[in-house]
C-alpha cells in the first residue's frame, strides 16, 4: 500500500479561450521520483502551480498531504520545496540574505546542509541575486528549495538552460532527497533521457491531457520497437495492428507498438513480412509515438 502525497482529481483549467488542463488526474506516491514529461505548453507548469496553491482549481480537486493547498497554504508549503522554471528570486537580496529570508519561513531549515551546498556550488554569499549568472541563480534557488529538507520537492524544468555541471547539481539534489530522507520528488522536464534515468514514475502530458502515467517499468514494458522486413516494398507506412508510429520506407520499417505481440506478428505476416528484431522501446520513442510526432501509420486494419 503506497501512501499518496499528491492526489489530483479531474482538474480543469483554462486561460481565456485556451484550455491548459483538460481533466487531469495525477497521483504522487511517497518516497518516489515522479517525472513529468511534455513539450512546452503541455500543461506541466500549470499542474505544478496547482500543487503549490499558486493557481486555484476551477473544476476538480487538488490535495497535497491530504490538504487543499489553496485553503491550507501554510501547512502545505512548509513541507514543500519548490524551484520554479523562471527561478524567481528577490533580485535585490544578497545570497546570505536570501538564505536567512527563506529560513524564516521554514522551522526545519538545515543550516549545515545549506552551508554545504553553498560550498559545493562555490557561491559567494555576499553576491546579489541580480548579479548571478543563470547557473548560479538556479543553484541559489535550489538551496532555497531543499535546505529545509521538504517532504515533497517540486522542481519545474530543473535542467532547463543549464550547463552540464549545474544540471548535475540539480539531479544530485533529487538523488539526495530520496536516498537520504526518503522524500518525494516531482520534477518536470523535456529531456527524456533525464526523465528515464531519474524517474520511478513517469507521466506524459500533451496539450493539457495526461497521455500516459505509471511506474516507469510498467510504461516501458507496454511498448516495443520492432524492425520489420517485407517481401514487397511499401510507399506508405503499412497498416499494422497495435502500431503507434513508424519510420522507414520500402521494405524495412521500424515500428513502435503496444499490446499484444501476437497480434502484431500476425498482421506483419499477413502483409508478407517478418519481424526481424524486437526490443523494449525507449522512453523517447514512446513519447514521440504517443504525442504523434513520428510518422503515423495509416488506419490500422
Amino acid at each position: 500500500m503506497e501512501e499518496s502525497v499528491v492526489l489530483v482529481n479531474d482538474l480543469w483549467r483554462s486561460f481565456g479561450a485556451r484550455c491548459a488542463l483538460d481533466g487531469v488526474s495525477f497521483r504522487a506516491t511517497a518516497g518516489q521520483v515522479h517525472g513529468l514529461v511534455g513539450t512546452n505548453g503541455a500543461g506541466k507548469t500549470t499542474l505544478l502551480k496547482h500543487l503549490l496553491g499558486l493557481l486555484r482549481a476551477e473544476t476538480g480537486s487538488v490535495r497535497v498531504f491530504g490538504l487543499d493547498p489553496v485553503r491550507d497554504p501554510v501547512d502545505v508549503l512548509r513541507r514543500v520545496g519548490y524551484l520554479s522554471e523562471e527561478r524567481e528570486l528577490p533580485e535585490w537580496m544578497r545570497i546570505d540574505e536570501l538564505m536567512a529570508y527563506t529560513r524564516a519561513y521554514h522551522p526545519t531549515w538545515d543550516a549545515s546542509y545549506a552551508h554545504e551546498l553553498l560550498e559545493t556550488f562555490a557561491l559567494d554569499p555576499s553576491k546579489k541575486v541580480k548579479e548571478l549568472s543563470k547557473g548560479m541563480r538556479a543553484q541559489a534557488g535550489l538551496i532555497a528549495a531543499v535546505a529545509h529538507r521538504p517532504d515533497l520537492l517540486i522542481l519545474d524544468e530543473p535542467s532547463s538552460g543549464l550547463d552540464a555541471v549545474v544540471r548535475r547539481d540539480m539531479l544530485n539534489a533529487i538523488v539526495r532527497a530520496v536516498a537520504d530522507d526518503g522524500r518525494t520528488v516531482i520534477f518536470s522536464s523535456h529531456l527524456l533521457d533525464e526523465v528515464e534515468r531519474m524517474s520511478d514514475h513517469v507521466t506524459m502530458m500533451h496539450e493539457g491531457r495526461i497521455t500516459l502515467s505509471g511506474p516507469l517499468e510498467e510504461v516501458r514494458n507496454r511498448y516495443l520497437r520492432s524492425r520489420v522486413r517485407f517481401v514487397e516494398p511499401f510507399d506508405q507506412p503499412p497498416a499494422l495492428e497495435t502500431a503507434l508510429a513508424m519510420e522507414g520506407g520500402g521494405r524495412t520499417w521500424s515500428v513502435v507498438h503496444s499490446g499484444s505481440l501476437e497480434l502484431f506478428h500476425q498482421s506483419v505476416l499477413v502483409l508478407g513480412g517478418e519481424v526481424v528484431e524486437s526490443r523494449s522501446a525507449t522512453l523517447e520513442e514512446i513519447f514521440l509515438a504517443r504525442s504523434g510526432r513520428d510518422r503515423q501509420p495509416a488506419e490500422a486494419a
Binding site: 518516497g31 548535475r168 539526495r176 536516498a179 534515468r197 524517474s199 520511478d200 516501458r220 520497437r225
Partner: protein, 136 residues
C-alpha cells in the same frame, strides 16, 4: 564500481546494473567479500533514481550474487563458481566472438585460430613449468 548506463537500446537501467555487477563478479573484478557502493553513492555516480539501485541490489541478492549485512552494506557473496553455466558460457562466448571477428579481419580462418589456441596453451604450460596452475 565501473558501470556504464546507456539508454539507446531500451534495456531497463536496473537490469543494466544487475548485468554489469554479474559480469564484474564473474570476471573477478569484484571479489567475494568486497562491498558494493552504497545506494546513494551509486545513484549519484550514475545519475539515476536511488530506487533503481535498490531494485538492482535486491535482484542481485535474490540471485545469490550479493548479500546484505545488517547495519552495514551490500557485499559480494562467496562461491562465484555457482554462476550458472549459461552465464559463464555467455561471458566466454563474447570473448570468442571478438577473437573470431579479429582473426577474420587479419585473414586467419577458424582452423588457424584453433591451432594457435593450442600452441599458446602449450607455450603457457611450458612457461609455468611444473606448476599446474594453468589448468582450466
Amino acid at each position: 564500481m565501473d558501470i556504464t548506463i546507456t539508454l539507446a537500446d531500451g534495456v531497463p537501467i536496473y537490469r543494466q546494473i544487475v548485468n554489469q555487477v554479474k559480469y564484474l563478479v564473474a570476471s573477478g573484478l569484484l571479489r567475494p567479500g568486497e562491498e558494493l557502493p552504497p545506494i546513494r553513492t551509486l545513484a549519484l555516480q550514475l545519475t539515476v533514481t536511488p530506487n533503481t539501485v535498490v531494485k538492482a541490489y535486491s535482484e542481485l541478492e535474490a540471485a545469490g550474487i550479493v548479500h546484505k549485512r545488517r547495519g552495514s552494506g551490500t557485499f559480494v557473496s562467496e562461491g562465484r563458481s555457482h554462476l550458472a553455466l549459461r552465464e559463464r558460457r555467455r561471458l566466454i562466448e563474447q570473448r570468442i566472438d571478438a577473437l573470431l571477428a579479429e582473426a577474420h579481419q587479419l585473414n586467419f580462418d577458424t582452423e588457424d585460430v584453433l591451432r594457435m589456441l593450442r600452441e599458446r596453451r602449450a607455450a603457457m604450460e611450458a612457461a609455468a613449468d611444473d606448476e599446474s596452475a594453468v589448468e582450466t
